[in-house]
Symmetry: C2
Subunit: 472 residues, 2 copies
Amino acid sequence: MNETLDVAPADASLPDRGTMRTESGEIRSEFIQTITAAIAAEDEAFLRAEVAELHEADLGDLIAALAPDDRVRLVELTGTDFDFSALNEVDDAVREEILEELEPATVAEGVRELESDDAVELLESLDEEDKEQILEHLPPSERDVLARSLDYPEGSAGRRMQSEFIAVPLAWTVGQAIDYMRETPDLPERFYEIYAVDDARHWQGAVSLDALLRARRPVPLADLIDEDRRRVTVTDDLAEVARLFGKYNLVAAPVVDAENRLAGVITIDDVVDVIEEEADEDFKALGGVSGDEELSDSVWTIAKGRFNWLLVNLATAFLASSVLGLFEGQLQQMVALAVLAPIVASQGGNAATQTMTVAVRALATRELGPNNAMRVVLREGLVGLVNGLAFALITGIAAVAWFKMPGLGIVIGLAIISNLVAGALGGILIPMVLERVRADPAVASGTFVTTVTDVVGFFSFLGIATLWFGLK
Amino acid sequence: MNETLDVAPADASLPDRGTMRTESGEIRSEFIQTITAAIAAEDEAFLRAEVAELHEADLGDLIAALAPDDRVRLVELTGTDFDFSALNEVDDAVREEILEELEPATVAEGVRELESDDAVELLESLDEEDKEQILEHLPPSERDVLARSLDYPEGSAGRRMQSEFIAVPLAWTVGQAIDYMRETPDLPERFYEIYAVDDARHWQGAVSLDALLRARRPVPLADLIDEDRRRVTVTDDLAEVARLFGKYNLVAAPVVDAENRLAGVITIDDVVDVIEEEADEDFKALGGVSGDEELSDSVWTIAKGRFNWLLVNLATAFLASSVLGLFEGQLQQMVALAVLAPIVASQGGNAATQTMTVAVRALATRELGPNNAMRVVLREGLVGLVNGLAFALITGIAAVAWFKMPGLGIVIGLAIISNLVAGALGGILIPMVLERVRADPAVASGTFVTTVTDVVGFFSFLGIATLWFGLK
């Protein structure tokens, strides 16, 4: 299509963000103050109108910005105008606090307005008792749908699928399908494709809406089915589902049960959430933080959560120091060794962390697998050797310049080479072994890898120094 | 919709992966061998048939698994059956190698078959000369579209948008729009919504396909327009666009130029790529690796790429060791200090990295901003204090048990508290300052933060020891 080049007045060139936000996308503090004042004044009409206007994501941001007591009051005051899916946009801790304060009947009423996947997401973090109380307030058919989804394991496709979808007989034509959609009042809120099923609801194929709209009315649906279309099983891991979506550029995928009956549909917005959660977890794991930690958690919760990782680190730090302890005599004889030893450990630790980072990421994206493992291990070993040689030279010269002892330069250089090669091999092999034994490489690799470089660094530096200088 | 509960035979319950892959999703080595043999035998017919069968993502994986020479031969042998979008699925280094080996006319022919966004992605990594040569082989209208997209800055919406979209007059009805789609032969390959424009192609609104299919033919499109729909400007940053998609659950967004004329459309599959690239970059940055590093890079390229980060680390390691150097006398008098000093630095470094990780992530997701900065800084300081007290106790007891000197326990305990509080504040404030001065917190924070904890750790431990034991 050709662009018409006549210039005409622009009405606006940036995405609309409403009056709630500043230009840079922050919530205006005046907006929060207005809402807070209206809550204090119990100005129901104003709040209902404001809340009804907001997109669920914006409403979620507003909720998060309010004081804890005001959050619950806002939900109570705005009643049916409050979109409960906004609660899926806030931190778990905030959501749970609000849901626990509200009457189960109020929550149930809000849940009824949601698509089933949003309802499940809202309920899944509650404890069993609260969940039951809310489910009891729902009509049996809706309760059953939610209870079934909640029965699937956490992180499975069944948990995140939406039970609302469009299923039609394979024998229908395009015209029949379009008429059905025009005449059915309670279609899903958003949909991107329709599914063909047989009498027993076995999945037969998917037809995307654009294919439907290109075709003329008498064309049978069977002609429009994409033979290559992937489907997902209720028990499939969501991380695998996300990879499938990313790889094949899907916007939706049918979810079938063990008998190949259509049970639901997973849509790209849920997959984007999964991708972001996975990225979040991997990122935090690399930094020694649990994926569950949230910005709204209390000091105590966070300190406890991070304690374990620090304790493991303390143990490995003592292990490394015990290597120094083996060489107490030498350290006393030549204090330069005590001053320089941390440099050897640190360079090794950083080089090993680089290798480990690449390895963990490549394992997560499935880029690293049996087909190329040998090549990558060899490559990392060589990279360690190349940078080991480079830093042996630099560090050696710097050490000689500092302490005026030529032998020290050779000793630290040899130690750097050993430690960078050891670090590179540890950095690649440890994540691969963890993956093989089905541990999460992102979580566990860091400690092991820097332990290797601390121990090898101290031992090689002080060991070589002992031999070279004929110490103790 | 209710599920029919009759049990019926399952034909398959797992996603189809074709014969190319093993059950765990790896490419079968027999498959690679078959293709390699066919390339050697120049069995064009067989290769064309195989290649035409594969999804672009699978074809990309096959290309990556072949020997370098075979990659080019495969493209040449399969000619028009080779889908060039597969080349967007492989590492940059592999793609550039193939594109440079092929005749410009062959590449141009492949590019003509692609949607404009795929074509731009394929061409953008080439150097100017190669790009020009290929563009010259294209018809002027197609060349202009690609050249315009390539003119937008890297990382902008204009670079990733697809110039194929459906734009219709706002005055049309649903029936007219559907008839138009049925009668127009060259519609975009995939689309999720259509756009209403005025005579000068100014954007008027978006209508999603599901809205179109729910409505009856005489309904005017103007009634179906989603007033809240966000649009994107050609110059908008793709990372911002990705946040918009994630926040508002979009599958497509219109891209307008500075005059609000519709220039293209960005679809969720491109956004998913952007999200994954951003996650990849942030993850690697945290581990001290450039986001550009790819698994297929050579030893030399990788070693060079990682060298700079290690050099910065070496400088900071010498800085930290120079603090140890200030206390040479004390270290010689009491060698236990030399043995224990790395523990203080290590605990501080790990606690600070935890804080920094959370801060960098929260800045990237915009969860941390001016509204909650004070609260988060205070909280991190308190977390540092709480864990500082806990580890002061544990480390103190362990140090006393090891060296049988009660004073050493008190000294190391006080040093640990200082360093964990300093680390927490450094871990949160350094990324925030970097963000403020528009540096990327993910890339630069690590070095600064561990420098703080190394220096504070060594200085506080040895300084307190000097005072406590009256060393000198």
